[in-house]
């Protein structure tokens, strides 16, 4: 049974966003969009999270934080970069302290475009991420099974 798809818990991190995308992310929780309909919960704890949702580009201050948050999450996990800045660095790209998009630090699975990204797009991105999450879970379960079988034969 794939429960994972029905219960994605999100960790939202603002890397160095202008807050535009963050407000749109929070808008998803409001009655108008109500993502909890899909079992999506905005948790504050990487150890409970399945999806790391990041807004804004990475700067030199939070580069280790982004990496740490990612490492703290148990597998299977996916990363969604929300907004132009998270994807490429956006208009801040040329700033002295900006490294660029999130994918400069950790692997990103889904890019949600926009400046700011619209709630509908963000939800769309999460739904896309669910497919990837499920794939990863199957791969993980398969890997574990293979390991077990290998263990039995030896």
């Amino acid at each position: 049974m794939a429960f994972l798809k029905r219960s994605p818990w999100i960790l939202h991190y603002d890397a160095s966003s202008c807050n535009g995308c963050d407000i749109e992310v929070l808008a998803c929780l409001t009655p108008l969009y109500d993502v909890e309909r899909f079992g999506i919960i905005n948790t504050g704890n990487p150890k409970h999270a399945d999806i790391l949702l990041i807004t804004g580009g990475v700067n030199s201050q939070n580069r280790p934080v982004v990496r740490n948050l990612y490492e703290q999450m148990p597998e299977p996990k996916v990363v969604i970069a929300v907004g132009a800045c998270a994807a490429t660095g956006g208009i801040f790209r040329e700033c002295y302290n900006i490294a660029g998009g999130i994918d400069k630090v950790i692997p990103v699975d889904v890019y949600v475009p926009g400046c700011a990204a619209r709630p509908e797009q963000i939800i769309d991105g999460v739904v896309a991420a669910l497919g990837i999450l499920e794939e990863k879970r199957e791969r993980m379960a398969g890997g574990a099974r293979m390991k077990e079988e290998a263990g039995e034969t030896t």
Partner: protein, 634 residues
């Protein structure tokens, strides 16, 4: 009777012998052998007399009584000398008053001062003897190596180990005498001996603080002693109706109103000795003494003398307002001392406050004094003695290794001293968790209090008291089992010998939890049955469930094997900052900083400064009320 006399006299012989033994190894040999003899004799006592009920012995009284009076006078002189030396005139005054009262008693009523039976033994005495004989001698064994290390770590303290062990064994003898005596004068004599021995042991370090606290203990206990001797004078003066100085006759006396006044006075002596509020400060001050002293005197034996006498007089207290007042002193002490324990981080002070609290609970049971409550009180005495001595000895062992008795410094003991931590864990569990003993007694006490008038007051106090108890024990437990990284194991290097007493007492904590139905049906229930004509105890099914829980707890650690495999380890979450397993994280400006975790002490709510005075005031009023009620009853 020979066994009884052996248990009283043999420790004195050992004490005198130890005065002259200088080398630690030979001292260790002597102490171990005599501990075996004493422990063996107490177990023999159990097998011999467990099923016989109360047995009385007409021990030779003339010479013994004379010798006791002589020793009492000598002790009074000693107190006066010490009081003069350290300019403590209150102690001198009390010693003089007490000696004068003894002389007055001997002069005026000399023909009435004969009890037919001076010694006796019943199930309750057997239980006390087992506690003194087994726990007491184990502590003595532990103390030999402990004192060696103690002097190694404290070179400034004068090495008087000969005297130290003399006093320890003299104390053990006095405790045996106290629980075997049926003659109130004898009880009083042994009572005074325990007062003096504790004075000597608390002042062992000879620092200013130690001397001050020793005198504090002395003064408070002498105050109780004065009340004790006053009670005896009252009993003797009241004539044959009161039963005179024969304990059994007094307790069996039909004239409840007459013996209520002496009962309340002796109860007051018990309150001082058991360090209930407002006298709790002497027990706290006594924590300056070396740890085995705290374990021996102030957890498992001497303070138990106070509640022993209270429980003996419980039938007299039962159903009287005076008894309820005495019980309330205990109950208030229980809740206030437990609450203050929350605010303490010094392990020995936490233990001291918890001891005071539990003695309060026992006193509450004794004061109200119904059959079920006496049953609970005796059970509390047993379980408390076992678990608390383990905790004291454990704290001492840890202190010798990490040179701190602060609970915060015990963080991660499970990694640094795993065996020690497991033993202390069991000891703490024994103090407050189901299905261990203390909780069984608390449970029985709640059930029993509901059934008496005014019981709701006690139930309410017990409900709050249990809640705060959970808090301060659980946070200590948490400190012990916190898994910290990057430290080395420092368990080795501690002397091998002290482990054995620790192992045995740990075994006893667990065994007591398993065997409590046996202890109850073999010793406590017959005792209660004889006095009240009804017996108490827990329902069979509940006992079965408790044992089942206990077994479950013992097997649960096996499940550790389940978790060994295949879990990925990550450092703790530190708000996204990269951190290592020992809680170092990258702070701002590229500095590596350490995060520390500290327990809550909630000082603004539960601080000593806030709670002690009101608690003591209430207890003083209650003590006065108990006297007033006893007077009115007359």
């Amino acid at each position: 009777m020979q066994t009884l006399l052996f248990l009283i006299l043999f420790p004195i012989l050992v004490a005198c012998l130890l005065l002259f033994v200088k080398r630690t190894t030979s001292r260790y040999a002597v102490v171990v052998l005599s501990a075996l003899a004493i422990g063996g004799a107490s177990i023999y006592l159990l097998m011999r007399y467990a099923f016989e009920g109360a047995v009385y012995f007409a021990a030779p009284s003339e010479t013994a009584s004379l010798a006791m009076v002589a020793i009492e006078m000598a002790l009074a002189l000693f107190i006066i000398y010490m009081g003069a030396k350290f300019r403590n005139y209150l102690a001198i005054g009390l010693a003089v008053v007490q000696a004068a009262l003894v002389v007055y008693l001997e002069m005026t009523f000399s023909e009435n001062l004969h009890a037919i039976n001076n010694l006796f033994i019943d199930q309750f005495s057997i239980i006390m003897a087992l506690i003194i004989g087994i726990i007491g001698s184990l502590i003595a064994v532990y103390a030999v190596r402990y004192m060696e290390t103690y002097h190694h770590l404290h070179p400034e303290v004068r090495d008087r180990q000969g005297t130290f062990f003399f006093v320890v064994f003299a104390f053990i003898a006095a405790m045996f005498g106290l629980v075997f005596s049926n003659n109130l004068l004898w009880i009083f004599f042994f009572w005074e001996v325990t007062t003096i021995t504790s004075f000597l042991l608390i002042g062992y370090a000879e620092t200013e603080e130690a001397t001050k606290n020793a005198f504090l203990a002395l003064v408070m206990n002498l105050l109780g002693g004065v009340a004790f001797i006053a009670a005896i004078i009252y009993l003797v003066a009241a004539g044959p109706a009161s039963g005179g100085i024969d304990l059994a006759a007094v307790l069996a006396s039909g004239d409840a109103a007459i013996i209520l006044i002496p009962a309340v006075l002796i109860g007051f002596a018990g309150i001082t000795k058991a360090a209930l509020m407002p006298f709790s400060s002497w027990l706290l001050g006594a924590m300056v003494a070396p740890t085995p002293v705290s374990a021996l005197l102030h957890s498992s034996t001497m303070v138990k003398a106070g509640v022993y006498i209270l429980v003996r007089f419980a039938p007299v207290f039962a159903g009287t307002l005076a008894g309820v007042s005495v019980g309330l002193v205990g109950a208030v002490t229980f809740v206030v001392a437990s609450a203050i324990a929350i605010s303490q981080s010094n392990a020995k002070l936490v233990l001291a406050y918890s001891t005071i609290a539990n003695l309060g609970l026992i006193a509450a049971c004794a004061g109200v004094g119904t059959h079920m409550l006496v049953w609970a009180a005796i059970l509390l005495i047993i379980f408390h003695a076992v678990a608390k001595s383990l905790l004291f000895l454990g704290t001492g062992a840890v202190e010798n290794r990490i040179e701190s008795r602060d609970i915060e410094d015990m963080e991660g003991l499970i990694v640094r001293m795993p065996k020690m931590a497991v033993m202390m864990f069991i000891g703490i569990a024994g103090m407050f968790l189901a299905p261990f003993g203390m909780l069984i007694s608390k449970w029985a006490a709640i059930e029993a209090f509901v059934q008496v008038p005014f019981g709701i007051v006690f139930v309410a106090i017990l409900a709050y008291g249990s809640a705060v108890t959970v808090f301060f024990w659980a946070k200590w437990m948490g400190k012990l089992i916190t898994v910290i990284r990057g430290v080395e194991q420092i368990e080795k290097g501690f002397f091998e010998e002290p482990w054995i007493p620790l192992y045995i007492i740990t075994g006893l904590v667990i065994a007591a939890a398993f065997l409590f139905p046996v202890i109850s049906s073999m010793l406590i229930e017959p005792y209660v049955l004889v006095i009240y004509g009804v017996t108490a105890g827990l329902a069979q099914t509940n006992v079965a469930i408790m044992l089942l829980m206990m077994a479950l707890l013992l097997f649960l650690p096996l499940s550790f094997a389940l978790f060994r495999k295949s879990a990925k380890r990550l450092p703790a979450y530190m708000g996204g900052r990269p951190a290592t397993a020992d809680l170092h994280f990258e702070g701002s400006l590229g500095m590596t900083r350490e995060a520390q975790t500290r327990n809550y002490y909630l000082t603004t709510c539960f601080g000593e400064a806030r709670l002690f005075r009101p608690g003591a005031a209430v207890c003083i009023i209650l003590i006065l009320a108990s006297w007033a009620f006893a007077g009115v009853a007359l």
